[in-house]
Symmetry: D2
Subunit: 339 residues, 4 copies
Amino acid sequence: MKYDKKELLKEKIQHIDIKKFNSIPLIESFDNMAFQSRNLAKACKIYDTMIKDKDCTIVLCLAGSLVSGGLKKIIIDLIEHNMIDIIVSTGAIVVDQDFFEGLGFNHYRGFVNADDNQLRELMIDRIYDTFIDEGDLRVCDMTTKKIADSMNPGVYSSREFIYDMGKYLDKNGKNPESFVLEAYKNEVPIFCPAFSDSSAGFGLVFHQTEKKEHVSIDSVKDFKELTELKVKSKETGLLMIGGGVPKNFVQDTVVAADILGVDVPMHKYAVQLTVADERDGALSGSTLKEANSWGKVDSGFEQMVFGEATVTFPLLASYAHHKGSWKDRKAKRLNTLLK
Amino acid sequence: MKYDKKELLKEKIQHIDIKKFNSIPLIESFDNMAFQSRNLAKACKIYDTMIKDKDCTIVLCLAGSLVSGGLKKIIIDLIEHNMIDIIVSTGAIVVDQDFFEGLGFNHYRGFVNADDNQLRELMIDRIYDTFIDEGDLRVCDMTTKKIADSMNPGVYSSREFIYDMGKYLDKNGKNPESFVLEAYKNEVPIFCPAFSDSSAGFGLVFHQTEKKEHVSIDSVKDFKELTELKVKSKETGLLMIGGGVPKNFVQDTVVAADILGVDVPMHKYAVQLTVADERDGALSGSTLKEANSWGKVDSGFEQMVFGEATVTFPLLASYAHHKGSWKDRKAKRLNTLLK
Amino acid sequence: MKYDKKELLKEKIQHIDIKKFNSIPLIESFDNMAFQSRNLAKACKIYDTMIKDKDCTIVLCLAGSLVSGGLKKIIIDLIEHNMIDIIVSTGAIVVDQDFFEGLGFNHYRGFVNADDNQLRELMIDRIYDTFIDEGDLRVCDMTTKKIADSMNPGVYSSREFIYDMGKYLDKNGKNPESFVLEAYKNEVPIFCPAFSDSSAGFGLVFHQTEKKEHVSIDSVKDFKELTELKVKSKETGLLMIGGGVPKNFVQDTVVAADILGVDVPMHKYAVQLTVADERDGALSGSTLKEANSWGKVDSGFEQMVFGEATVTFPLLASYAHHKGSWKDRKAKRLNTLLK
Amino acid sequence: MKYDKKELLKEKIQHIDIKKFNSIPLIESFDNMAFQSRNLAKACKIYDTMIKDKDCTIVLCLAGSLVSGGLKKIIIDLIEHNMIDIIVSTGAIVVDQDFFEGLGFNHYRGFVNADDNQLRELMIDRIYDTFIDEGDLRVCDMTTKKIADSMNPGVYSSREFIYDMGKYLDKNGKNPESFVLEAYKNEVPIFCPAFSDSSAGFGLVFHQTEKKEHVSIDSVKDFKELTELKVKSKETGLLMIGGGVPKNFVQDTVVAADILGVDVPMHKYAVQLTVADERDGALSGSTLKEANSWGKVDSGFEQMVFGEATVTFPLLASYAHHKGSWKDRKAKRLNTLLK
């Protein structure tokens, strides 16, 4: 059967709105059950405790295909309602997926058992059951080049570059639903420790190839800035969706502060939604108790939930949103501390 | 730290009530997303289609620690609202967990990192994060012996024995919330192809040891009866929670009918909620498309959802319940066909 | 592309021979490493200790598509070299896969991304990447009917029936490489607690449909017999490939003995090779430490290995074989105790 | 029970030597079996084909706790025998684990169910079943600072920095078994796209905090350099252990080249050893067929193997080593192209 590109790119992924359903009754039932339902309930309660704790700076860590999966609006809502203060993410989520949609492009409902050869010929990229028009992605790549071209040559943190991406969307965006834009407006810093591993990497490589005097992205600067924010926070809590570099990077700030001679507490709260398993010794699935041996995450308020994020994250975020503890919480606007 | 048995067995597992929250808005959002949220939405829609299809006999397959995990009331609700017609289950769910609770016993909230040596000394059994009083389990074992003792010696299907367990609960039960009881009242047949692999196994071994003339459980008889029900159904749909023997057993009825010379259609609908993976070649994680090669499950209306059942099953069942398609569906009371 | 049945059923699965490679150097290296390599090394050493322990009866538990996966010869070797004394298995491994090959049929190298619709039309059944001629399977089904027809009507344990299957192969088999045959010759009992959930189920249903006086398979009798063997063993050790019913069934014999008033020790040794995860609360992935809380498995000599059995089982079995501790071990011929 | 630090840090992790056992007979058996054994055999054959293909540049991608897990010597052997040409890795493997051991420190056999609170008090860090002396790690952090201090201020790729780490080990190392050192000597470039997410991050943050004129690590430069190597290679093959950033980063070079206006072929060969699952839509578990839709990985010579790397990587590497195809292969010394 021959594919028709238009047919394949017809049904847009739509982002779930946690304000439109209230998961509190469900989560409260889960709390009296067992296995992952109870773990999820415990994670929800820990996140709500973080929000209530006035001293706590909340870091949202993002890995996986979360925005293409329909979770973008949740991140926007968490920013808007002061439920998180910092984002640490993979580059793909920030650039290829969120910024990409901010430029007016979309992800599309596809299917798993696709003929990938045919997709390639049509310039359609597949993420499991989701399709992307590769032409759109190329525009996204080039836009990051344009942004780099417009900046003063020099060394930047990914946070600084992403800030400029927000500014770009504010002026030129075609879809106001973008967490890069929302974070920009609310001065929520976004860090991508592996920034060039994204659509922006393409744009920046092109930029550096063209210009002798150019923009560089120094992830050490990111680490320094994030550590600075850790130092300036009385307490910290981690809300981790997936594992990977973001999970490790933010945990390491405790050690980094220590090395700089500043005595900071471990991360007091930590929640991770993941499908990874601890048995291969890799970081993504390593338990939060293990992180305690490293002096990174305190024991007492930590919970891992084994489950895929498109199912578990909406339940957790809806719970926290409807609990309303954010109503007494102020925007920390941490970007302003880093200028 | 020394454990105190009373302290450990204090908080009862409570069963989630799908009538008290409406997952339709959530599932409808999931349908426009990706990955497992969309798969779950598709599974919900297929299950609703089964319920609407007047010709379809619906078989619920159960594996895993579902009742100890807080999912018992869902199964009761599905029976009560004519949303399923047959149950195929592991023995543990039917006897050790549901019948056990029908006798007035409970499962308790425990914790994962328990000192299992101490638990053993206190005669507390652990299922991941859940505790059981082993003394209670022994009473359950002995009750199945009592039931066997009261029956005429002979060869029975597990279905027949479980029917008598329902009758026993009807007279002597201490907790009306039992799906064994509910199925008994509604003439919903329950099959356990590996029946002696359960608390009833203990009672029956004791029974057979004591009595020369005794009750035997012939799973061939179960297979014959289940195949008979398949033959008498115009169409069939499978709602599988977990994999294991129940998944395989019910799929095999298509072939069994064929061998008996009756031409029956494949199972028209099939949904499986599971954490198993196809990559080890085992049946539990084998895809429903693979089952198509065997001529067991039709293609078109089949969906696997990767997720742990205490989270996904309540969402699916609440969706189907609130859709209300069951209102036009009549109880099939299939037990009456087998008498 | 249209499939050609002959082309698809050309390359036979060949069974690995643990005598032809020596995994000892590899396993000894693994012992000084980490994660699953070290776990596998520990499992190997525990299994070797079981073999050395003269008082220990060793039970091999089998679940998953092990014989179709190429592991049949290992099981035969373990029997032949007195490295196991009892087998508890799923029905499919015993009947659909091993007995099936004993009749002269084969499994074939296939591929994962097959068009299952086309396979169905060609009567080819798929197990992940492996193909089976459904016509051959039907002959296997009918052979079990023939065996049942030849037996005196009455109630049998699966062990008794499988013994007759061995006898049948001894007379009529077309491929001497069958562990059902090898176990028959060496008086190693084989138990299938869910026996009708197999190709034999088809034959037996046909048999019972035809004959009023017929053979029944009572798994309670299996449980009684297996418990008897547990009672008669000074110590016991479990070598579990996969989880499912076999894992639970054999663990339960400790409790069954207790209920019959006999004080038996817990299983002293336990090894499980599995890809299952403990986090869903199901039995297959439940830790052996958890089994300790139930008083079923002793602590000290227990090890789970996370890995797929076609890779891990050959390494473990080759290690134990080349260690040679079996040379001082005698065949227990436990079937003779049950006659 | 109170822990004793000396007791806990006694047994060193030892690295497996693929030259000391020959996995060819095992892998050849695997090739006629099914499931992951056959997949592993196929992966071995593809890797051997890469080595034979004179036009092929081979990129080794590393993620997970591979060196602490005992796989260091394999990587050294692959470099030494010209079996790989480029390494793309997480920072932890390069700095915290390999460079760390090059400085004379060790990883130790620990255990999983450790009391992490006590470990923290003793300054022992845990990776699943492995222990590390945090004091040693701090020395490692500071050594990277020292290296940064010794460099001319400016913007570097991680590759350049790691080259200087190799040079440092060459002069000051205490253990010649280090792949950073071996790569340095053989001019094999090592890229860490998320370099500051490692022990080096600590040292570099300290360095930047102290010095106004300092070293920056620009991962765009890494991307540019790696793309340059892709452009200069006729064909490329990927040997991926784990997923994460390295997997994505190297795949993206095909697109990066295209964006720079150079027409390069897709990666012709690709092998991935992983425990990740495709069903969550994340990159780590995404199939190599999916990568084909992106125009990154060619179809035909690609294979994923589901299994934990400490078991599967030694088997694959031993196979390729004993096949000996490397004997006709020359060192590419690609670092020299980037100077």
